[in-house]
């Protein structure tokens, strides 16, 4: 195209348009057409083809002339290509029609862009306005002109390219007026030639990705201004970004190149004070992104890109170093002046939130998030939309005016008032033991194969400990806070999950709100809080989500397997079952019935989905699953210390029917009646979901009846298994059925003429509301405590707590009198969660021996002293000072009463601890299996629970090293590295024969099985999580 000769507008500016083509023939016609009709045409046009395989060179040559087409290698970067085009005009005379001293500009055009007719004129107009402007970019629209692509670009601290636009944001002029920016895209970029030359053009280090941002950053740092002329518009197909073609300018994968270049250009251009922090941050960030790429996005390619990028960054530091060196010479403005041009952190977090929302809440949630951020569509709207004032409220106001939020906040206030007596020390009481020191204690308990509880235990730690540990970790390691959240926050948490779960099922928010309050005020919940029943509370919170997920998983159309939904629902069920495994059994019953009763997908597919759903829990809960199978009592026994819930004749059938499991904090019996009535009647007219709700109710009820009729093992006379978890299932089902029925009731009644049905429905509705209100008032009046309390937990005097921490690790026997003596041996200053669930003796003889020792001590038999020493007991504590039934403890020779104010404490005069040395006759007696005589002289050595590492002096004879733990082959002892021959002391304790020589004694335990199981469990959980996440879908 020959240069024009007529006088042009902006004659003081000479423009050289450089078109770079790379397999872009399909867009070139539009580009060339746009170029041809420019109201202010460029003075020179040169095309650079980077080895296109299509007809691009021919098209360009046909339009511009063969001489105006430069050919460069296919792997040439954009910068190199542009420079080649510019170099083609080296030494050329000034084009006609412009001033002699005209300022030279370079207009970069991609082959996949098309400028509007006035694009260049608008760009020049903007450039002409200020002498400090060195680069001007257009407003870039999508190829179909419907969406904004760019109005300037910037970069965040992670190196991510940021446009500040919502994806697929419609252009309504909302971004017009954007002025100074960090950079503009190279498609349509107008840059001063002298500046281009001074900064060296596009840095070829970052070919394809990041070179435009880097150029803009350098221009700004040099003191120039980079602005956007939003009235200059070009269309851009973004073929490379959209994956419509590939680039040969870099050997890295596209994602990896973008990530690497982003990090490198930030490190190259940012303040020198930020280089080191960012260099340290990037590897961590990349690893996290890689993990999330796999877990959240299920995109191994994304993870690979992260790994490749960070590897390249770390292994090629010289790239950044040399780049910084080059930029240091040109930098004129300090970094802080450029900071406003960089992307704020909020953009990055918003994007992360979008990712999470898209991954976990689905595309609808993501679209909803973006819709809220997008500008309101202009134009005429419906009247009702105009009067919908909520949209005019702020985010906070809008949030707090939602019915669900109102309900949850109201119930939070209610719970705070009801919990008024529980804000003090650590929570305990009922079945709940005090929380341990921190999350690390819970993790230790979960990971350990042997537990130093009671007489030592190898029972697998229940998986709820890991759940609790995870929650505690999230809460900054505070285990007590996790317990408080679950127990004190049970009502609002339950309400929250119930409301969320009911949202798709119940359209009318008043019904939803009522159902939420009804579920949160169920007698099961109030009883569970008062009784410190952690498992029931967890089930109550999780159940609505599990039911919703299950309904969604099993109720999806026949198309697609939907297995990821089944697995997700199975995971929620597993979470609930980890606290109360009977929930899983109940769920199996529900799924069997619903699979065969409800039509939908073909039966084989329904069976498959149901099977997958129920299979998840046993798999991810390994190895505990096997433990439950061999100890079926765990299905029904619940969490915590032995149940004190006692009723001679079992819970009455009517109580079970009305979701009253018995025990403390139960509202009047009738309050749940209307809900049960509604749940039963609902099956007659309501949707299938109501019938599913009834099936859940019936399954829970049947399970509760069975559970309540089982013979319970407990130290409490007439103890019964508490049916909280099963009745929670029943309550959830009843609420679901009743809520769906109430939702549909107006429409169902409207179809019928007035009869008895309408008054009956009104009566049930009023009664249901009154029942829930009564339950709430009753709970509020009574308070949430008793037996749950926040009073000081330990019964040990301070000196006894200190003595428990002695270096020989002695134990404390705590005894309470009564018709049955109840006792516990403490290895520390007190018991904590989850000690009660780990305290399963590995030996049969040891508990019997300890029990005999306690009985002997209680009646004052002298042999008790030796018996207690066998178990490492040094202190005997009677918490109740007035307990006369234990007065004869004083008769035991060798038990010295220690002055204490509120308790009775005896200290053994015999040396006792975790590891003792016996010699002479004592050793012979102990090895023979006989009781340790009260005249024995054991020597306790420094040790911790199950472990000792101590120097032992030589002695005259062979000694017996006795560990106060039941005999097991897992124990081992070495003296100066040589294993000692194992034997048994007292007939139950682990012991070793030690030669007279002294040396370094080490006692330890090897428990490799637990670690292997944990690895299996971890793999199962990770795989299940991966399978539960829906596959990534393209937004286009």
């Amino acid at each position: 195209m020959p240069p024009r000769t007529r006088r042009l507008r902006f004659a003081g500016h000479a423009v050289t348009a450089v078109v770079v083509a790379h397999d872009g023939a399909r867009w070139l016609d539009d580009l060339l057409a746009g170029l041809a009709v420019q109201s202010r045409p460029p003075q020179r046009v040169v095309a650079v083809d980077t080895g296109s395989n299509d007809s691009s060179p021919a098209v360009l040559a046909a339009a511009l002339g063969e001489s105006a087409v430069i050919r460069v290698p296919r792997d040439a970067s954009l910068g190199a290509a542009v420079q080649a085009g510019l170099d083609a005009f080296g030494g050329a005379p000034a084009p006609p029609g412009i001033d002699q001293d005209a300022r030279e500009w370079v207009w970069l055009l991609h082959d996949d862009c098309a400028p509007d007719a006035d694009a260049l004129e608008r760009l020049l107009q903007r450039a002409d306005a200020s002498g400090s402007i060195v680069a001007v970019g257009p407003k870039v629209l999508s190829w179909d002109r419907r969406h904004l692509v760019e109005v300037g670009v910037t970069v965040d601290s992670s190196g991510g390219r940021q446009s500040g636009l919502e994806p697929r944001e419609v252009d309504q002029g909302q971004h017009d007026g954007v002025d100074d920016v960090l950079a503009v895209g190279t498609a349509g970029l107008l840059i001063r030639r002298d500046v281009w030359d001074s900064v060296g053009g596009l840095d070829r280090t970052w070919a394809v990705h990041g070179d435009d941002v880097d150029l803009g950053w350098r221009l700004n740092a040099q003191g120039g201004r980079v602005v956007v002329a939003s009235d200059a518009v070009i269309r851009h197909a973004a073929a490379l970004t959209g994956g419509l073609r590939s680039s040969d300018a870099t050997s890295l994968p596209r994602g990896a190149a973008a990530r690497l270049h982003g990090m490198q250009l930030v490190l190259a251009n940012t303040s020198r004070w930020l280089v080191l922090p960012l260099a340290l941050r990037y590897p961590v960030e990349s690893i996290l992104r890689a993990v999330l790429g796999v877990l959240v996005w299920r995109s191994p390619a994304r993870a690979r890109d992260e790994v490749v990028a960070i590897a390249a960054l770390v292994t090629r530091p010289h790239v950044v170093i040399s780049a910084r060196r080059r930029r240091a010479q040109l930098r004129r403005r300090p970094h802080h002046e450029l900071r406003p041009l960089l992307a704020p952190a909020s953009w990055r977090w918003r994007r992360a939130a979008d990712v999470i929302a898209g991954a976990f809440a689905g595309r609808d949630a993501l679209a909803e998030r973006r819709r809220r951020r997008a500008p309101v569509e202009t134009g005429p709207v419906a009247d009702e939309a105009e009067s919908f004032a909520v949209d005019d409220l702020g985010v906070v106001a809008r949030f707090f005016t939602r019915p669900g939020v109102v309900v949850v906040v109201a119930l939070t206030v209610l719970a705070l008032v009801a919990d008024r007596a529980l804000f003090g020390d650590v929570l305990h009481g009922g079945r709940l033991l005090p929380a341990p020191g921190g999350a690390s204690d819970l993790w230790s308990d979960y990971l350990a194969g042997w537990h130093s509880v009671g007489l030592g235990s190898t029972t697998p730690t229940p998986p709820w400990v890991a759940v609790l540990a995870l929650l505690s970790t999230v809460l900054l390691g505070k285990a007590w806070l996790a317990i408080d959240v679950i127990v004190l926050g049970a009502v609002p948490l339950t309400a929250l999950t119930a409301y969320v779960a009911l949202r798709p099922a119940v359209r009318r928010w008043p019904v939803r709100a009522w159902a939420t309050v009804a579920y949160a005020m169920t007698p099961v919940l109030t009883g569970a809080v008062a009784g410190g029943r952690l498992e029931t509370l967890a089930v109550l919170v999780l159940l609505p989500l599990a039911i919703r997920a299950s309904v969604k998983a099993l109720g999806t159309p026949a198309t697609g397997s939907g297995l990821h939904r089944c697995i997700a629902a199975g995971l929620l069920l597993a979470l609930a079952a980890s606290f109360a495994p009977i929930v899983w059994v109940t769920a199996v019953g529900v799924l069997v019935v619903t699979t065969f009763v409800f039509a939908g997908a073909p039966l084989p597919k329904r069976l498959l989905r149901a099977s997958v759903l129920v299979a998840v829990a046993p798999i991810v809960l390994l190895p505990w699953t096997a433990h439950v199978v061999t100890h079926p009592r765990l299905l029904v026994s619940g969490i915590g210390v032995s149940d004190s819930f006692a009723v001679r004749r079992g819970v009455e059938p009517l109580e079970l029917l009305l979701a009253h499991p018995g025990g403390p904090a139960q509202p009047p019996l009738w309050v749940w009646g209307p809900i049960v009535v509604a749940a039963v009647v609902a099956v007659a007219f309501a949707r299938q979901l109501a019938r599913a709700g009834f099936i859940i109710f019936a399954a829970g009820l049947i399970a509760a009846v069975v559970q309540s009729r089982l013979a319970a093992w407990s130290a409490v006379a007439n103890a019964r298994y508490w049916t909280g978890a099963t009745l929670a299932v029943a309550a959830a089902g009843a609420v679901l059925a009743a809520a769906v029925a109430a939702d549909e009731l107006p429409r169902a009644l409207a179809r019928r003429s007035f009869s008895w049905r309408q008054p009956a429905a009104a009566i049930v509705a009023v009664a249901a509301v009154a029942g829930v209100a009564t339950a709430a008032v009753a709970w509020l009046t009574r308070g949430a405590d008793r037996p749950l309390t926040s009073a000081s937990a330990s019964v040990l005097p301070v000196f006894a707590q200190a003595e428990a921490a002695a270096p020989t690790a002695p134990r404390t026997l705590v005894v309470r009198g009564g018709p049955v003596l109840r006792y516990a041996t403490l290895r520390t200053a007190g018991v904590h969660l989850p000690d009660a669930d780990l305290d399963a003796p590995t030996s049969r003889s040891a508990p019997l021996r300890l029990s005999a020792a306690v009985a002997d001590a209680a009646v004052g038999r002298n042999q008790a002293l030796g018996e207690l020493t066998e178990f490492g007991v040094r202190l005997v504590v009677v918490p109740d000072r007035a307990d006369a039934s234990l007065a004869r403890l004083a008769d035991v020779d060798g038990l010295t009463r220690v002055p204490a104010t509120t308790t009775v404490v005896y200290r053994s005069t015999m040396s006792a601890g975790e590891v003792v040395l016996l010699s002479g006759k004592d050793a012979t007696t102990a090895a023979s299996g006989a009781l340790l005589p009260s005249t024995a002289q054991p020597v306790a050595v420094n040790a911790t629970a199950g472990h000792a590492s101590v120097d032992v002096a030589a002695a005259a004879t062979t000694r017996l090293v006795v560990l106060a733990e039941p005999h097991s082959r897992a124990w081992r002892a070495t003296l100066d590295g040589h294993r000692l021959p194992a034997t048994t002391a007292y007939g139950w304790a682990q012991a070793w024969r030690m030669p007279p020589d002294g040396g370094h004694l080490v006692v330890s335990r090897s428990e490799p099985g637990r670690a292997a199981w944990l690895v299996v469990e971890l793999i199962a959980v990770v795989v299940t999580l991966l399978l539960a996440v829906p596959g990534r879908r393209s937004e286009s």
Partner: protein, 480 residues
């Protein structure tokens, strides 16, 4: 029928079926884990005699070790502390063995091991025939325990009361003493932590602990270990002997009790009461004689101020009848009685009578040999209802004694069993009913220098220890 109606019908059927099933299926009674007490047979029995000692012709002690079981037993005895001449040995009582000590000795621990230990009874009887401490003393040797109570000791001049505390255990014991008198609690420095070494005994003078205090009550509490204790009580009126006896441990503070063994004849009978509590006690007394029971005139109720002791002279009320005294109090009190003979010629003599728990299991007297082969009697009191008591001699001969309701009774053991001068030997008492009954054995001799009187409460034979049921329960560790 529409689908909705079918669903409704099915729902009703399910609900009713489940409810009815729940009503029909009740948990079995075995749901409660039955925890029962167990018994541990007596494997070892140890008794402590407070002082087995003598001094040639002037003073001798007979320690009688009796085996009232049907099985042979070997008992060993050893002195608790150094002695000049050996005081240890191994015997096979069948039915009894007497260790006669005429040289200075010490407290003695008698231990029997094996099944026969359940029939072991030991007592010591001392005789000072003449001199300043003339008198006869008698005490049942007892097992060590953590708490022992005494009432009626005296810290005044003219009385020599010595508290013997013995520790037969293998580890040292630590005891604390508490004393009360008619003037109130006695503050004694240095008695809250007295160490009694293993296999040793120590003696503390009441006169030193509570000088010039009368009616002194003593509580011996073992802070650690167990001890046995008794008070040697001797009275001297100027240079004239006024009798002596062992003041044995009595029943721990209790709202009721019975002291039996008051004998006929000219004498003074005094009931000592101590109230170690913090509230004043009002004590009601009823005398149970062989012919009647009544509230003594002038002593309908006796007020014992908190922390004080008092004494009630019942001489006039008892009136020379063999009897027992039953008392009740609104707050726990300690009671012990003394019966003093005032012969018209010769020296006074006395005997201490402890308050006892009722006999609910076999009890025994190790010896029934009267001083100078004179009188040995068994006194029984049934304060509430009639009861028969089987009395079996070591020879195997047995008689059944009927104790009328709210009466006391007595038998002459020599006569009943047709025994010779040394008496019928050890006797075993077995209550044959549920009513409470109390027993005391009297040894008596009338001599030219006055009477010799000694009494002893029945020793409850070691019983199989009832071991309470136990269960491990972590709930005990947290506050309730």
């Amino acid at each position: 029928m529409s689908a909705g109606r079918r669903w409704l019908a099915a729902a009703f059927v399910v609900v009713i079926a489940v409810t009815v099933s729940a009503a029909l299926v009740r948990p079995s009674q075995s749901v409660t884990r039955t925890l029962r007490s167990t018994t541990a047979s007596v494997g070892t029995a140890t008794f402590v005699c407070p002082s087995v000692s003598g001094n040639g012709d002037r003073f001798a002690t007979d320690m009688t070790i009796a085996n009232l079981s049907r099985q042979p037993v070997t008992a060993s005895y050893t002195a608790l502390g150094p002695v000049h001449t050996p005081l240890r040995g191994r015997v096979h009582p069948q039915p009894s063995v007497v260790v006669h000590r005429t040289t200075p000795g010490a407290a003695v621990a008698v231990t029997a091991t094996g099944p026969g230990a359940a029939g072991l009874a030991v007592s010591q009887v001392g005789l000072v025939p003449a001199g300043k401490y003339r008198g006869s003393s008698d005490i049942a040797c007892a097992a060590a325990t953590a708490d022992l109570w005494f009432a009626g000791a005296d810290g005044r001049i003219g009385t020599s009361d010595v508290l013997f505390i013995s520790n037969p255990g293998a580890t040292s014991a630590n005891v604390a003493l508490s004393l009360w008198s008619a003037a109130g609690p006695v503050s004694v420095p240095g008695v809250n932590s007295i160490n009694v070494p293993a296999h040793a005994y120590l003696a503390k003078s009441i006169g030193d602990l509570a000088p010039d205090r009368q009616w002194v009550a003593v509580h011996v509490h073992a802070n650690s270990g167990t001890v046995a204790a008794a008070i040697a009580d001797s009275h001297v009126n100027g240079i004239r002997p006024a009798g002596g006896d062992w003041l044995p441990p009595t029943l721990a503070p209790s709202p009721s009790g019975v002291v039996t063994g008051f004998t006929g004849g000219a004498r003074v009978d005094v009931l000592h009461l101590a109230n170690p509590g913090s509230r004043d006690a009002t004590v009601s007394i009823r005398i149970v004689t062989t012919t009647r029971n009544f509230v003594p005139a002038g002593h309908q109720s006796v007020v014992v101020p908190a922390g004080h002791t008092t004494s009630v002279n019942l001489s006039g009320a008892i009136g020379g009848e063999i009897s027992g005294v039953a008392y009740t109090s609104d707050v726990p009190v300690v009671a012990e009685a003394v019966t003093v003979r005032h012969p018209t010629r010769g020296f006074d003599e006395l005997a201490w009578l402890p308050s006892q728990p009722p006999l609910v299991s076999p009890a025994a007297f190790a010896t029934t040999t009267p001083p100078f082969n004179q009188i040995v009697r068994l006194i029984l009191t049934a304060p509430l209802g009639a009861i028969d008591v089987e009395v079996r001699a070591g020879s195997g001969k047995a008689v059944t004694v009927h104790v009328p309701s709210q009466r006391s009774t007595w038998i002459d053991l020599r006569a009943v069993f047709g025994a010779g001068a040394t008496g019928p030997g050890p006797i075993l008492l077995t209550p044959l009913g549920d009513q409470p009954v109390y027993a005391e054995r009297l040894l008596y001799a009338a001599g030219a220098h006055g009477p010799l009187l000694a009494e002893e409460a029945a020793t409850v034979l070691p019983r199989a220890t009832v071991l309470p049921p136990t269960v491990a329960d972590l709930r005990v560790v947290t506050r309730r």
